[in-house]
C-alpha cells in the first residue's frame, strides 16, 4: 500500500493512511449508516488523510457482488441497496377476507341472472344507482367483465360474469343458477309477487338475446 503512495502525500501526513482493508471497512460503515448516498469527495473528507475512497469503493463493490445487498452508484454518490431479486422480501403480505357489500352482491347477482346486462338495467332492477366503485371492485375481483355492447342507442356496454366467477361459486355456467321458481321452492323468495313489478326476463330469456348479438369484441378480454 505505502509504496503506491505519492511521496509528497507521505510527507504531508503525520500518520500513514490506514491499510486498504481498513479503508474498505470505513467506507462500508459510512455507507451503511448514511441516510443519503455519499460521494467520493465526502468519503475522502470523513476518512483519515491519505485514504483512497475510490479504490476502497471498488474493493467493496466487488465484495458485495452477488450478495443480498449491493453497492450501487446513485447520482454522484454511492449507496448500499437490496439486491433487486430480493425485493420480494421487503413486502409483507397479509390476506384479509371481507364480506362483499350488499350493493356489490346485489349487482353481482343481477349480472349473473341477467347477463349480458347494462348498467342502466342493473339500476332499474335494483332501484338505485350503481356506484362506479362497485362495478370496479367486481371487475378487479375478476368476477365480472365487459360483454358486448348493446345495439341500442348509445351502444351501452354490458357486463357478464367470468369463468372465475363460475369457479368461485362452483357453477358450470350461469344458466345453472337456480331460477326464480327454485328460489321460491327453496323458500328464498316469497310467493307474493313484488309490488308492481313487471315480469323480469330470467337468464333463459337473456340467453337468446346474447345469441343475437355479435358485435364489438373490443371489450372482451
Amino acid at each position: 500500500m505505502s509504496d503506491e503512495m505519492e511521496p509528497e502525500e507521505q510527507g504531508e501526513t503525520l500518520f500513514d493512511a490506514p491499510p486498504m482493508g481498513e479503508q474498505e471497512r470505513m467506507v462500508e460503515a459510512v455507507l451503511f449508516a448514511a441516510a443519503e448516498p455519499v460521494s467520493v469527495a465526502e468519503l475522502a473528507e470523513r476518512m483519515p488523510h491519505g485514504s483512497d475512497p475510490a479504490e476502497a469503493l471498488a474493493h467493496l463493490k466487488k465484495r458485495y457482488e452477488g450478495r443480498g445487498v449491493r453497492l450501487v452508484r446513485v447520482g454522484d454518490g454511492w449507496a448500499m441497496r437490496t439486491a433487486p431479486d430480493l425485493g420480494f422480501l421487503m413486502h409483507k403480505e397479509s390476506v384479509e377476507t371481507r364480506r362483499l357489500s350488499r350493493a356489490a352482491i346485489e349487482t353481482l347477482a343481477i349480472i349473473a341472472y341477467h347477463q349480458p346486462v347494462t348498467r342502466a338495467e342493473i339500476e332499474e332492477i335494483r332501484g338505485v344507482s350503481v356506484s362506479r366503485g362497485t362495478i370496479d371492485l367486481l371487475i378487479e375481483m375478476e368476477w365480472i367483465r365487459f360483454g358486448r355492447r348493446r345495439m341500442t342507442p348509445g351502444r351501452p356496454v354490458t357486463f357478464v360474469v367470468t369463468q372465475e366467477f363460475l369457479d368461485h361459486f362452483g357453477l358450470e355456467s350461469a344458466r345453472d343458477l337456480p331460477g326464480l321458481k327454485e328460489l321460491r321452492a327453496a323458500g328464498l323468495l316469497e310467493s307474493r309477487p313484488p309490488p308492481g313489478a313487471a315480469a323480469m326476463p330470467g337468464p333463459e330469456a337473456e340467453a337468446e338475446e346474447e345469441a343475437t348479438e355479435g358485435q364489438s369484441e373490443l371489450f372482451e378480454d
Binding site: 451503511f32 413486502h91 403480505e93 349473473a112 323468495l189
Partner: protein, 261 residues
Amino acid sequence: MAEDDFQSDALSVSERLAAEALIVDVDGFEGPLDLLLTLSRTQKVDLRRISVLQLAEQYLDFIEKARHLRIELAADYLVMAAWLAFLKSRLLLPPEPGDEGPSGEEMAAHLAFQLERLAAMREAAARLMARDRKGRDFFARGAPETVTRKREIRYQASLIDLMQAYARIRTRDEFRPFVMDREAIMTMEQALERMRPLIGYAGEWTDLTAYLPEGWARDPARRRSAMAASFAASLELAKAGLIEIEQAETFAPIRIRKARQ
C-alpha cells in the same frame, strides 16, 4: 461533588470548611443515603469495613451544622438523622434483657449493605453509560427500507349469498331466510335468554310451561315453538349444571328446578 475534599488529609480547619461546603451543596445530594455514602468516603476504608457508628456521628454532626447555618433540610434527611441517633444508642448501650427488635449490629449491617449496594449501582450505571452506544459509537442502518405491507383483501360471497341477494331484489323486500312466519317462532337462544335470569328463583320443581312467555301458551303454533325452544334451552341449562330436570312418566309435565350445589 465535594467528595474529593474528603480524600485529602484533612486538618481540622479544612475538614470543617469541607463539611460546610458539603452542607451548602446539600441540594446536590440524591437523598440521605447518597449523603451517607459521600460521608463514608471520608473514612477511607472499604465500604465493607466501614464504621457505621462513626458514620452515624458524622451524619448527625452534619445535620447539627446545617441547623446551625440555618439551612433547611428536607424531611427525609431529618428522619434519617432520627433513625441514626436511635442506631447510635443501640450500638453504644448494651442490649437490655427482653429487648425487642433487631440489634444495633443488625441494623448497622443493613445500613452498610445499603451503602455498598448503592455504590455498586452507581458504578454499574457509570460502566453502562461508558459502553459503546448506538448513535454515538455504532450505528444502525441510515437508510432503512420500509417494509411495504401489501394487504390483499379477499372478498367472500357464497352462492347462497348471491341467491339471497337476488331474491331480496326480486321481492323488493328485506330478505328473510325462511318464509315461515317468525311471529310464531321462538328460538332456543331467546328461550335461554328468557330462562337464565328466572332460574335463580326456581328453588322448587316448576312445570316448564310456567316459563313460556305470556300469551304464547294460548296459540297452539306459538305454544309448540315456545315449548320446544324452552325444552331445548332447559337441556342446555342442565348441561351447564344450572338446573335439574325431571319428568315423572311419559307425557307427564316436564319440571325443572335450580341445581343444588
